[in-house]
Every structure is written in C-alpha cells, then in structure tokens.
Symmetry: C2
Subunit: 290 residues, 2 copies
C-alpha cells in the first residue's frame, strides 16, 4: 500500500458514519443519498510545480483543473452537474492570469455540461493551487466501484498510456461518454481512472477487489512518441474489469472509434501481484515512509 | 466593490448557465436543484500564514477548516451533510500533523452531523493549504439569500465582533442552530456570515439587496478584551436583515441564551453607505487594484 493511500486511510478511518453515505473515502468518488437520488461528490486539485508550471498556458491549466475530477466522475459511470472552484494565489499573479484560467475551465464546463456554481479566491504566500469540487448524478445506472472486481475478470484500458508530460496532461478528454456507456451497457464489475499510472492504480483496484492480477505488458498501448505506460502517470484513462463472457464481445460492441480499447490482462484469485510490478507515482511517499 | 469581489465577478460571469442552478456565485452558498430537493454547495479553504500558522495546534486548524464552510451553510439556514477535504502539503510535514488535524476536523464533523465523504492529499512544494467542500440541504425551509434585504429592514448580528485573532478564529462555533431557527421561524429577508469583518461584509449584503444602510457604531457588540468590530474579520457570526414588524419581537423570541443577538442598524433606500465606513479585510485587493 502506498504512503499516500495509507495516510489517507489512517486519517479518514472512523470519520464517515452517516447512513446515507453509500460509498465513502477510497473510491474515485463518494456516493451519497439525497432524497431518492444518488449524488456523486469528488474533490481534486492542481498545484504549481506538481501538476503544472507557471509557464504553462493558464487556459490549459484551467481545463486540467476541472477535467481531473471529471475523470473520477467518468470512472463511476456518472454525469457531472456542478463544480465549485477554490483558487489559492499569491497576490502578485495578475488578474489576467485568472481570467485566462477561467476561460479554459469554462470551455471544459461548457463541453461537459457542468455549471460552475461557486468560487472562492484566497491569498496564498507562495505558489498557485486550485481545488475543484464536483457534484454529479448516476442517471439511472449503478455506480461502478473499484471494489467489485472478481477473479477471471478481463482488464481493459481506454486510450494510450505514458508520455502524458509532453502535453496530454493539460489537454486530456475525461472519458465521460465512455464511462457512462460502459456503466449502462456493459456493467463492468470494477472501474477506476488512471491518474497515478497503471503501476500504482491497478494494485489499488485489485486490492479493493480482493484479487491478484496478471498483465501482458507487451500489449500495453503506448502513446506515439513513447513513454512508460506503467509509471509515467496522468493518463486519465479508464481501467475496466469486465466479466469474461461480456469481455469477448466488448471490442466489437465498442461505439467509440476515436477511443482505443485494449485488453491488457485479467484479475485472478492469487491475491498476489507480479513480483516485478513497478510502483507508480506517489505524491506522498516521502512523508509517509520517512 | 472590493478587488476580490470584482475579480470573482469578472471571471465567473457567464460560467453558470444551467437551469437547475438556483443560486450561483455571489451568495454564501450555491443552491442547486437535484430531483425535487435543493442542495447547498460551498467550498472554502485555510491557508498557512493567511488563516493559520504552522505553530497552531493542528486539531484547531482542522476544526477551523471544516467550520469555515459550515458557517456559510448556517448563513443560508441550511443543514450540512457531507464534506470533501483536499489537503495540499509539503512532504516534510509529518503524518502525525495530519492525524491531529483530522482529529480536530472529525470533532467538528461529529458535533455538526457532517460525514466526511472523501479526501485527497497532494504534495505542494511550499506551505500547507486545505480546501473543504460541503454539501447540505434546506430541510423544508427556503434558503435565505444576501439579496433579499429591503429598505427599513432591521439589522442584527449574533455574538460579539472583533479580536478574533486572539483565538476565536480557531475555535468558533458555526451558527448552524441559530441560522436554521431564523430561516424557519423568522424568515429574514437577507442573511450572511461575517468572515471578512462587518466593514467589508455589510456593504456586500446591502449592495446585493440594492439598499444603503446605517449602523449605530456605539451599539456594536465587541469581544471582551477588545478589537475592532468592523475590520478585524474572522468573526463567523450571522448578519441578519429582518422586516421591522418582526424585528421588534425577535429579541424576546430568541431561544439561544448563550448567543448574544444585537440590533445594530437598518437598511435604507438611500443606496449609499456612510461616508466614513471602513473597508474590511480583502484578501485580494493588491492583485486586483494593481
């Protein structure tokens, strides 16, 4: 278990006792009951010098800031509705930076049908950071969790992996259409979005499902131009566990010609991970291990 | 209009076009429609060296991090249900800091009936910041906005103002019970929470309501030990605009013997603010003005 996962698990343990909290900390999104509806809630952030540089186009940073939590909504099979934005900014960042940032964020909001319901700006002495919280709904389908995988389930990934740092991480399209279609038509046993790299994220899905896994690394779809599909991270693609009978038909049924779908391996009953499996990116490993 | 208000207005303009967004940016909380329910959404943050110091007890910082957005839920007359927490932390902050932080945040969550539905941790190179998003409901009453005030409405504040920096800002009780009772029993025309000081916040309520105001500054309730009730900020009390007929009975009806309620002035039709009215705390005035 990575340092970040372990720290989060330790500090969140025991904090979530409400009956209408259907899915709490640990999955891509929280699922809560509100009246007769299930609401998805997710918060995520972009931090200067971690997720972007000051020299990047602020419009692309704004796009990324909203699309990161949208990718988590996609991984549940959900539909995003509202976003709240918290900006932390040194006072020497000119207002024009934030207007451009919001133009990019607004483009993503328009494209994916999200209303920006509120925003806060606070001074921060050093460095820019933006946190975005998103609320969504399930639109009549059941949320797809990380924990539902079973031995024998076939593993797929969307798109191509690795090399995101060359630009994809600022321009990616959250897989909302694909996630929704999968939840409605395929009912995967488990699904999650790949933000820290398959190397870190697949063990999370397998562990939550109580399974081991095997992956045919020669099959992994790598971004043109190269990169490591296991450890680079920031792919924002879907990792999907599909029961074997349904898996055989899936490539033929797949209605998204512009989004590649690749069968990469399977969950198994071993409870073990390949011995040479690499870790992925762990934002917090230093603090948690040290 | 303050720099922070103006920048937020500029960048949020045109971003919020969805029909089920009932109250968008500019009030204490957003109000959205989800099925037949009204949901309140709010995000806020605490930033090191702005809202707290590294030397402060992390449990008190955790309490404050959750109670800041709860104060906004209170100002709508709402009931908070769920919170999402985004932590930005340098890697040299020991895990024990965050465990203590979450103990304090968890105490506030328990006390005010909030379930912590999710959390994220990201590395940040310099300085701690925590963003908390909260979802709540209205429980059968109408949300009380900033914009409903009318000329003649009597202005009240809860508690005492000023001097928060001596400790209140880390230990305050969000006025959830009071806000809910007011929304149900008094139906104020307008309400907001005082986070930047009456000097900055009252003009916001008056402007949103299209009114001027007058305040009897000698009547302002000042914290024992002193402080400026207009400009110190971080009071986290309620500012309430009540129609005159209802206002006369309110002090006698007030069922919270431990929470002071003070009549401080009135809205008027002048559209003007007192000439000597001070500004309050504006996190962003430098960047917006310069």
């Amino acid at each position: 278990m990575s340092g970040e996962d372990k720290l989060l698990r330790d500090i969140l343990r025991g904090l979530s006792g409400r009956a209408n909290l259907l899915v709490g900390p640990g999955d891509d999104c929280a699922v809560v009951r509100s009246g007769r509806r299930k609401i998805l809630l997710k918060t995520d952030c972009v931090v200067e010098d971690v997720h972007f540089l000051r020299s990047h186009d602020p419009a692309r940073v704004g796009w990324k800031a909203l699309c990161r939590p949208l990718s988590d909504i996609a991984a549940m099979g959900g539909v995003p509705e509202f976003a709240l934005v918290t900006i932390l900014s040194p006072t020497d960042v000119p207002p024009g930076y934030w207007k451009t940032f919001y133009r990019g964020l607004g483009r993503a909001a328009d494209r994916f049908g999200v209303a920006v319901a509120g925003g806060e700006i606070s001074r921060q002495p050093r460095g820019i950071a933006v946190s975005v919280a998103v609320a969504g709904v399930m639109d009549g389908v059941r949320p797809v969790l990380r924990s539902g995988g079973r031995p024998g389930d076939v593993l797929f990934v969307t798109g191509v992996l690795g090399g995101s740092i060359r630009g994809h991480h600022l321009d990616f399209i959250p897989r909302l259409e694909e996630g929704r279609w999968l939840a409605r038509n395929v009912r995967p046993h488990a699904m999650m979005d790949l933000s820290d790299g398959l190397g870190a994220d697949l063990p999370r899905l397998a562990r939550a499902s109580g399974c081991g896994f095997r992956v045919d690394c020669d099959r992994l779809p790598v971004r043109p131009g190269g990169g490591c599909p296991l450890t680079d991270g920031e792919d924002y693609e879907l990792l999907i566990a599909v029961p074997p009978r349904r898996a055989d038909r899936l490539p033929a049924d797949w209605p998204f010609p512009r989004t590649r779908l690749t069968r990469i391996g399977a969950l198994d009953a071993s409870g073990e991970f390949p011995a040479d499996w690499p870790g992925g990116w762990d934002h917090f490993s230093e603090a948690a291990d040290g």
